[in-house]
Symmetry: none
Subunit: 166 residues, 2 copies
């Protein structure tokens, strides 16, 4: 390869590394906004063309607003949630599309209302599709397959000393 071609190849590969990092940060922002219940900011992580399937594909949505409205209604302030993403496997499929696998651990705690003291723990394998529009990466598709999910009653004597949603 000529020097010119080698520099061009470097530029392309460095762009891919930057895209992988940007996608990891996009997902970090998604989890942070989800558990921080920052719905408007969460919407900015979703592609206008989003197709989302939740709960093993039973629930499907077709716009950022539909997704955030669903999340907002299904994760009210009475519910503390933690979605912890691990060991991503990101593949750049083209200059504007990518695929990502994430190992998810999740934890839900109901602090009030009908489900007070209910706890839910689980794990899942996420598979996402991402799309780059005008230099910015967005979540285009997200869905997961549960490893397991368990529901239980928490000991009421557990004292929640801090809760950002109350």
């Amino acid at each position: 390869m000529t020097l010119e071609e080698r520099v061009e190849a470097l530029e392309k590969e460095l762009q891919e590394m930057k895209d992988i990092e940007a996608i990891k940060e996009l997902k970090g922002k998604y989890f942070r906004c989800l558990d921080g219940k920052m719905w408007d900011e969460l919407e900015t992580t979703l592609s206008p063309n989003i197709v989302t399937s939740y709960s093993n594909g039973k629930l499907v949505f077709h716009s950022p607003k539909e997704v955030t409205d669903y999340l907002k209604s299904s994760m009210p302030k009475e519910e503390i949630s933690m979605h912890m993403g691990h060991t991503p496997e990101i593949t750049i499929d083209s200059e504007t599309t990518a695929t990502g696998r994430w190992y998810l651990e999740d934890r839900l705690i109901f602090t009030d209302g009908k489900y007070k003291d209910v706890g839910i723990n689980g794990g899942a394998f996420y598979t996402d599709k991402y799309e780059k529009i005008d230099g910015q990466w967005y979540i285009l598709e997200t869905g997961y397959v549960r490893i397991y999910e368990e529901h239980f009653m928490r000991d009421p004597k557990i004292h929640i000393t801090m809760n950002m949603h109350k």
Copy 2:
């Protein structure tokens, strides 16, 4: 340095970044296949020269098949497992060898059989050696030192609503 030398240095450094990312993805695939009980796919992450020590080095294996057979037998369908890897420290030792440290959190749930309702939680520091063969990274050595491990009886009233292994 000449332009040629500068391009060469860039190529070398970018290759190291790509190798670090590839190793992180390799480990993500290993954990995903382990907990998804996808033994054939797990085998593809292991080097033909693998030397593995589990349980603080007491168990040692010398081929991918030996490792996956052991894992398959010791982690049957009655056992939900979650191995969550955190904060990797990857060092590229040479063009074809690397070392990786991982902070592991693990959770095991026995859903049936002799150990029904047993739970095991723990944490460990993993130290791995990786090997690159024909451009592909593999786990060459993996072993860990336990931070702690705890065994307990889970409340039978905990309701497992989803389990990919059942």
